[in-house]
Symmetry: C2
DNA sequence: TCCTAAATAATAATAGTTACTAAAATCATT
DNA sequence: AATGATTTTAGTAACTATTATTATTTAGGA
């Protein structure tokens, strides 16, 4: 499965993902990496993002609107989408909660459950502050 | 918001969604409704599915691979995707669990959390049986 | 340095979905 | 039942996100 060769482009993409918390889309990654590698192609970005997701070096987050987003943080955690600004935030509940949600689900399903993703919806601190200023 | 006029096509789509548990994609709905309304167009299906989702008469489920799926069951519940066959199943944990997951998340987030969706991954009973026969 | 496999940029192609428009259907009012 | 304002439709074009193709370049072991 892993006949991977080093590439500057992939290294730059991983580097970027690991140092941002904005959960960028492929296109956002593309626009960013482009500053250092002006001829990088969008296809290369997609291929490497999927590669990183396959090797567990990144996480792909499916959101209902807009394209998929990517996260360089790979420990088990969840995400909150702010309904106001659309930004995606990390949310950590702790492994014991994650496991208990899985087993709870397993008890209610005629089969096995081994993992899950949760997408929370709400309003981020920033947008709450903005709203309270208007009132 | 609601200047809705009746349409046979929308009624048929809702009827179908309410009587199936297969969580069809827009295309699957299209192929089905076509049997009764051979000239219905895919655009009409999409428009009505989104309309039903907007009015709360159906739920739109975003899955990582393939198109969105729709569910005529509108009470709060979750979904399990079988990794083997790709089918989507309903899973009910009960309102108290749903609320407690929301409030737990709220405690770990600098903002407010008002809802969430969970997508569980596992293996359905059918596929477990098939696997055990092979061994 | 040479060679092979992998990665790239550029482009074409695909999937899923939304937008547009003239014609048809709905439905309240006559 | 006919009128008319509004919505919905079918058909089609357009768009967005993503994957596939391919000739060229690059990585890295022998």
């Amino acid at each position: 499965m892993a006949n991977l060769k080093y590439s500057r482009q992939r290294a730059a993409i991983k580097e970027y993902l690991c140092h941002t918390t904005e959960h960028p889309t492929a296109d956002t990654v593309y626009l960013h990496i482009r500053e250092a590698y002006p001829n990088i192609s969008l296809g290369t970005v997609y291929r490497n993002l999927n590669l990183l997701a396959d090797t567990g070096e990144a996480i792909k987050i499916s959101t209902p609107d807009g394209g998929d987003r990517f996260d360089g943080r790979t420990d088990l955690h969840y995400h909150v989408i702010c309904r106001e600004c659309g930004r995606v935030f990390d949310l950590e509940l702790g492994e014991q909660h994650i496991r208990s949600i899985n087993s709870l689900a397993g008890q209610h399903f005629e089969g096995t459950v081994d993992s899950h993703t949760i997408l929370f919806y709400g309003t981020c601190k920033n947008c709450l502050d903005k709203k309270s200023k208007i009132r």
